[in-house]
Symmetry: C2
Subunit: 410 residues, 2 copies
């Protein structure tokens, strides 16, 4: 019999963050953990002694399957950064006090860069104070901007949704234009890294031309050149679809969306109106070219559309959760699980361990040669990298026509 | 052997308008039509002699299946209203000239109210001038605002997407809030009828509380009362989700979205910034209550998300297409196929015929007693009506991880 396990979730949600939770839970139970606790709202809730016994909430294999198909953090998330140990040792004393009370031997934290900072500080504190608890990190983020892992769980499902939705938006616009022209601007998440925006290119195939232009935040955006490009495209086709990252900036380093908010204009209630990158560019094109335009924001569905999650992604998210438990059970601490691609075609991927002390906050951007010379599309290298990550689906369990989720009964 | 058939698509796209096309094509071929033509971009393209022989494009049963799963108008759509016969008889002469050239015996038009006007005028003209061509209409619209049919093909799939996406958005927000509050405003299509906005209630179930408030355009919207409601809700829960129709108006008859655009403010490029209903209300709540807010627009995916279309809807869309062909083959003309619900539970529905001369332009609104007294939610009657229409799925045919569509090779 192994000691008790506690697991938490932190940072922005993804469609598969609960699959990692399922992987932690099931692996821990199967390998003999006495109890598996879940902290509510990550380390922040834990500090308030908010936790549950997961076996009260995951009662069957069907529950595990539902959990794998449930988007967003089942346990609740937080955006809380631990202080440095020497600054506020009392925070760490409190945490370890609760860990001791619950007899926690293994602490698993699912999250992004900030969450790995939590693992680092807690494992350091444990080593310094001679505590035996093992601390392991499980990566997740739709943004795919972690440097050490081939890709991050959550990215594949976001990319699959974005590729699918882009294709449907392209089809929608194509069916409408006859003697009219329409320019559609799609806005995609990812402030600094263009992984998600590049995924709109997945819409391209035998049956779809894909977006006409794709602008990643890695390349400075030139507004005049963009208008020129769209004008040229409209000479040969009636529907032009452009994908832009929410984070594109001009050469002056100013976010494009800020150009729509240059005045101090406030509405009747005294509030400043904010406009997004897509609506700014759609308004711009309407004004400059005079054609019909549309702005489409994929919004939070990019990270929560579990109804069309990638099965590869769900499985890998499960695997990294399981791998973290196994590493902890074997005595590892202060490490994060990473994904290591063995081969592209046929796609093969395994897990590995990475020392959290070595994690820097460098964001992994799309390599320059995965973007075309002009900075208006991704190249085949990008597609070859992403395509394996969006393969297959895990069919939602539908009840009354709507996907069923597992939820935390309170 | 039957004579030649021509079919066209008109008006706004839906996720299943091509399933009706598939129904027309397959039924016509199976019942012995010589040729089945498709007009490109409806009657507008037809006037320019834009048409294809559909057997060049739908070559196998697999193609039929792909067509059923392809959103937006495969043949292209139009928004073109025929003139009155006495105003421009030459338009009708031209149309019937082309029909004669192609030896068309049966003319099927898939569309909304305006398209039925086309059927009316063409069938009138044929009767008056002694032409033998039969004209039949096939209804479609996501808005479900046609008065004569129990519901419209396209609505069920839009409702299923909206219910699913709403649930995922609710889950997303719930996972985020701990010591914070967040108000999410979801904006749904439907300018005058609240059918689609009401469908957000489908998110409600054992595993999800559903939206907290639902505002349909049928009921005047009171801004102050809305803010009060949200304030009260925030006293008992941290995440509040509100669904609003894009068409909600205040008691003064002014669209809520217009309140965000009261000034002549233009951006640096001289263009007026438009803001939607959801972003206006989100900004309002942020200002009045001071909490974090989010605006989510489901945008064109409401009508094009065939990746999660309702199987009931796809099948019914196919059936109404087939029923139109059969009625035309039996000599009917100037009629539209309607759906007639035989029973709610178990759900049973058949097709019927309706004289297009009797179609008025009255929009079918959500009945008052399907909305609660306060005007802030739909009642069980609404749910019982919609729920059968979103049942089951037609699994997308995935190629390289993205749903495959049938497309018109040019």
């Amino acid at each position: 019999m192994k000691g008790n396990v506690i697991v938490g979730q932190s940072g922005g949600p993804t469609a598969v963050i609960n699959s990692s939770l399922a992987g932690v839970y099931k692996t821990a139970i199967d390998r003999g953990a006495k109890k598996v606790y879940g902290m509510l709202h990550g380390i922040q809730g834990f500090l308030d002694e908010q936790y549950v016994d997961l076996s009260d909430h995951i009662k069957s294999d069907l529950d595990v399957e539902l959990l794998k198909r449930t988007p967003s953090a089942f346990l609740g998330s937080c955006r809380y950064k631990l202080p440095d140990i020497h600054e506020q040792p009392e925070v760490f004393e409190k945490i370890f006090g609760i860990l001791e009370k619950l007899e926690i031997a293994y602490f698993i934290y699912i999250g992004g860069n900030d969450s790995m900072d939590t693992i680092k500080k807690l494992s350091d504190y444990a080593i310094v104070t001679g505590k035996q608890t093992k601390f392991m990190g499980v990566p997740k983020t739709i943004d795919n901007d972690l440097a050490l892992t081939d890709h991050t769980p959550g990215f594949g499902s976001a990319a699959k949704y974005i590729g699918t939705a882009t294709k449907e938006v392209i089809r929608d616009a194509m069916g409408l234009v006859y003697n009219t022209e329409i320019v559609t601007i799609i806005e995609v998440m990812g402030r600094n890294a263009g992984w998600l925006t590049g995924a709109t290119a997945l819409a391209k195939g035998e049956d779809c031309c894909g977006p006409d232009l794709i602008y990643l935040p890695e390349i400075p955006f030139n507004i005049e050149r963009f208008v020129e490009k769209v004008k040229n495209l409209l000479e040969t086709k009636k529907s032009v679809v452009v994908a832009v990252s929410e984070g594109i900036k001009t050469e002056e380093g100013k976010y494009v969306c800020e150009y729509g908010n240059t005045s101090d204009y406030v509405d009747a209630f005294g509030h400043k109106q904010l406009t997004g990158t897509a609506s700014f560019l759609a308004n711009l094109i309407a004004g400059e070219i005079g054609c019909k335009t549309r702005a489409v924001e994929f919004s939070t569905l990019q990270r929560s559309a579990s109804h069309i999650a990638s099965r590869i992604d769900i499985n890998e998210a499960f695997q990294v959760g399981g791998a973290a438990v196994m590493a902890a059970f074997e005595g590892d601490t202060g490490k994060m699980i990473v994904l290591k691609r063995v081969s592209d075609d046929p796609y093969q991927c395994t897990t590995d361990l990475y020392d959290v002390h070595k994690i820097s906050n460098v964001e992994k951007l799309v390599p320059r040669d995965w973007i075309n010379k002009e900075g208006t599309y991704v190249t085949q290298k990008f597609i070859s990298y992403v395509e394996p990550l969006i393969q297959a689906e895990l069919i939602p369990v539908q009840v009354d026509g709507i996907p069923r989720h597992l939820y935390l009964k309170k």
